[in-house]
């Protein structure tokens, strides 16, 4: 517990200060802070709480059920194009903001996914999510959405290759926080 507080000192102070200010503002009816809390903060909080716990349950189950060999074989160092296609497909099925993809990336990496595929996963997550594509098409049209998607794929693959090259001889690890 002590370690936990020490490690997250900054975050915990932000939360504590915000809570104190919010409580005071609500009791003396200070509008600006009430507005921040009710509109922005509540929205983000609901968005986060509605999907993150579920996501982490799935990640936890994945951890206990899927053996390392399986992941390493399919999306590992020597999985080739097929491995990359698998992580792209996985990313397309997901939803939510990018920070929800980091824990998944951590789990993939821990189970033996190659560095390149971890970053391809993050790239695909940010630009190819199917739920978002449906939104994009309805508001910005098929031409724009298709063009953006097709151009994005090689761009994030190149980014992943650069990341892999950069990290090749370094001691890279994704931390379990």
């Amino acid at each position: 517990m002590k370690m936990f507080i020490k490690k997250n000192l900054f975050d915990i102070s932000v939360i504590t200060i915000f809570t104190i200010i919010a409580v005071i503002s609500f009791s003396i009816d200070y509008q600006p802070v009430i507005e921040i809390t009710k509109n922005n903060f509540a929205d983000f909080l609901i968005e986060m709480l509605s999907f993150l716990p579920l996501l982490f349950i799935i990640i936890g189950l994945f951890d206990v059920w899927v053996p390392k060999e399986t992941v390493a074989k399919h999306v590992g160092e020597f999985s080739g194009i097929k491995g990359s296609l698998i992580v792209i497909f996985l990313a397309m099925l997901q939803a939510g903001p990018l920070y929800g993809a980091f824990p998944v990336a951590y789990m993939l990496w821990k189970k033996g996914c190659s560095i390149k595929n971890v970053f391809i996963y993050l790239g695909a997550f940010s630009s190819l999510k199917l739920p978002m594509l449906t939104f994009e098409i309805s508001f910005l049209g098929v031409k724009f959405s298709l063009l953006r998607t097709i151009i994005s794929i090689p761009v994030f693959i190149v980014i992943a290759i650069i990341m892999e090259k950069y990290l090749k001889n370094k001691k890279f690890e994704i931390n379990n926080l």
């Binding site: 997250n8 968005e47 931390n175």
Partner: protein, 159 residues
């Protein structure tokens, strides 16, 4: 969202039927990770909430909506990198911007940076990947977003 809930429930049921103990340890592992990440996420959303209040979306969007040329790209990249707007809000806003005359390449830069570059969520990313890797990924993504915007500008009139 419904898909995620259904998928999670199916996994839980299947896992629980096959092995109760394993399921519980899986849930515990997942929840431990979640709790460890919670303080950072909370402080990030507090900071975003305050910033969003101080600089309302409309003001930010007006800026690159009215500027053209290179300034438009720069503003789009800047706002996209900083902002953390869920897609279901961002796309309708972009649709509105296109109607009011903002070019598609600028919109592409905005959307791509919005999705791939995260300045405000950097503290979360750093916890997982370390400072250098997180920084490099964000810089490369920013460059990538600009390339995507330029390419869309080049191809738009050809197709």
């Amino acid at each position: 969202m419904i898909i995620l809930i259904t998928f999670c429930l199916l996994c839980l049921i299947a896992s629980f039927v096959s092995d109760r103990k394993k399921t519980l340890s899986g849930i515990k592992k997942g929840m431990t990770m979640f709790l460890k990440l919670l303080p950072t996420i909370l402080s990030v959303i507090i900071i975003i909430s305050v910033i969003l209040y101080l600089i309302p979306n409309e003001v930010m969007l007006e800026y690159f909506g009215e500027s053209s040329g290179i300034t438009g790209y720069v503003f789009a990249a800047l706002i996209g990198s900083i902002a953390l707007v869920p897609g279901f809000i961002a796309y309708p806003v972009c649709g509105y911007l296109v109607k009011s005359g903002v070019g598609y390449p600028v919109i592409a830069v905005f959307i791509t940076t919005l999705m791939m570059v995260g300045i405000i969520t950097f503290p979360i990313e750093r916890k997982f990947f370390g400072f250098n890797v997180a920084l490099l990924r964000n810089i490369l993504s920013l460059a990538g977003a600009l390339i995507i915007g330029i390419l869309i500008g080049l191809f738009w009139n050809i197709i």
